[in-house]
Symmetry: C2
């Protein structure tokens, strides 16, 4: 196997850690990650401590010197700030950080490693609301109608990558993942938040399952399927193109809660907490995944199996993860 | 006439000053402007010194207190940084400033004046390159394929406005102007730069007309027609909608130069200066203006008349304007 030198930014985060696992299983040997914060002991066992680079990508000079020194063949650029649910309060900080890390990486690649293949991670949130049923399922041509500053920060990152592709011919390809779930996801997201509560109820530490708006329909993919799509797009995606990634199946949040209630060992009482509602929700997000399927990817893991695996992980470790702000 | 209280951000800039003139001519009396820098003596004669607010919109508290105190009926939000031609070098500063002033204004309106009608100024640059002839002329559904950080900053401003419309129901309407020209435009733009050179040659201060890429096709509208479109969209545009504004006629930059040569009193020698080329140019930008025309607007001033007026202004004042970074 021809061994590319791979760099994964945000590699110790949620999707990053699953991506490293998948790459190792597939036989990739030369894997480096950047880590902004948090525990990297898990990662040390996978790739060795010498390949973990403690780095804040919003620091221009640090980013430059890493890219200059490493000259990676491929970069999976997963690092991004989310502040889910607080994106209005922290809008300026969020935009500033996400733009800064994006510009620093793009400039460093252009300057010091212009042949690097770069996978940029957008988000389904960029598309936001659909105005008619014709727009669902959502393909790559869906207009941007973002509902929060986080989504705007992802649009900005995505568009900056396009600028560096079109103006400097950098070898950039972009994915826009829809919702994905798995162990080690921040409890700022709905499903890990629900699962942590279910486990707390099982342990007698909490009484009721507090929920927000359960009417929304979302498209869930197991993170292990998601990162396989990233690898396929990295290796076979067309330069300058965008690929949506998701299962193509819409599930109402109330169904997810119902599944968790069935998986629980205790009787679960659900209480709607209005303070968990956001100013605006996207009613329905379901992907048109024809384009990524044309590269040979399809999701393999059933939603029920994902939920069971995550709940068992949470039972054994106390929770799905510590709260992290870095990496979605 | 029912007199709205009007605030124009960036009101002493290029489009801003023409907008104030047009509003005054149409009988509007209660007009305030914010001015970031530069000479406002011209504006004092139009609206009085007491209605000129020296303000840096990137300062949150100053922006808040102005909106709180003024509670305008209508805001024409023209203030924006451009750094034309330097948008790669100054990308981070440009994005940071344009996002900061946009967020500050949106938050202040939401908090202190939520019934204000707000006109947001995007840009044709948001659309960027077209991939096929089917996409030209460019309507409001054209995808965003920006070629420089300035364009990304306008996309970000535009999308933030959408977020505040969709999430908080603010009364926002957006225009995306194509190229517009007139007296008092910064010589960072091509046409005033050409005209200033022609006048310098007429005065014997310069030998040759230095030009960049002349192959690009652009859609030019007289600024006096452009600001009339802003007034129409402010008063009759549909909340949450976007309106492209432009003449609908594509003209090659070489034709513009040819027209200026014909208008000059001296023989003009043209020299192509490769250093004036940008990393990437949009080959053709021509607007589909059906939507703004449906509101009753159409351009009235012929391109030749605009060029003649601007060159005469430059002859009488020495140049079209001092270089300004604020307001396009």
């Amino acid at each position: 196997m021809d061994q590319p030198k791979i760099l994964i930014t945000g590699g110790t985060g949620f999707a990053g850690s699953h991506l490293v696992e998948a790459l190792v299983v597939q036989g990739y040997k030369n894997i480096h990650v950047t880590s902004f914060s948090g525990d990297s002991s898990f990662m040390e066992k996978l790739i060795g401590i010498e390949n973990i680079h403690q780095l804040d990508l919003t620091k221009r000079e640090d980013t430059e010197s890493l890219i200059k020194q490493l000259q990676p063949t491929q970069i999976y650029h997963l690092a991004s700030f989310a502040y889910v649910g607080k994106s209005f309060e922290k809008a300026e900080e969020l935009l500033s950080n996400n733009i800064s890390l994006q510009l620093n990486l793009l400039k460093a690649v252009k300057e010091f490693s212009p042949k690097t293949r770069l996978l940029v991670i957008g988000s389904a949130e960029e598309y936001g609301v659909s105005l008619s049923d014709d727009e669902i399922p959502c393909d790559e041509d869906h207009k941007f109608r973002p509902i929060n500053p986080y989504a705007v920060s992802k649009i900005t990152q995505d568009m900056l990558a396009y600028v560096y592709f079109i103006s400097f011919n950098l070898d950039i390809v972009t994915v826009r993942p829809f919702n994905h779930i798995g162990e080690r996801q921040s409890s700022d997201f709905a499903i890990p938040a629900f699962i942590n509560q279910v486990v707390a109820i099982e342990r007698g530490e909490q009484e009721k399952l507090m929920v927000g708006n359960l009417d929304a329909i979302r498209d869930f993919t197991d993170v292990k399927d998601m990162v396989k799509a990233y690898i396929i797009v990295m290796n076979n995606g067309k330069k300058g193109e965008v690929y949506n990634i998701g299962s193509g199946v819409g599930v109402r949040m109330s169904e997810i809660v119902q599944k968790l209630v069935l998986l629980s060992t205790k009787h679960i009482v659900i209480e709607v907490d209005k303070s968990r509602f956001r100013p605006q929700d996207i009613p329905k997000m379901v992907v048109n995944n024809d384009k990524i399927k044309s590269l040979g990817w399809s999701p393999k893991i059933f939603l029920d199996d994902s939920l069971l695996r995550i709940i068992e992980f949470a039972r054994s470790s106390g929770r799905t993860t510590e709260g992290k702000i870095n990496n979605s």
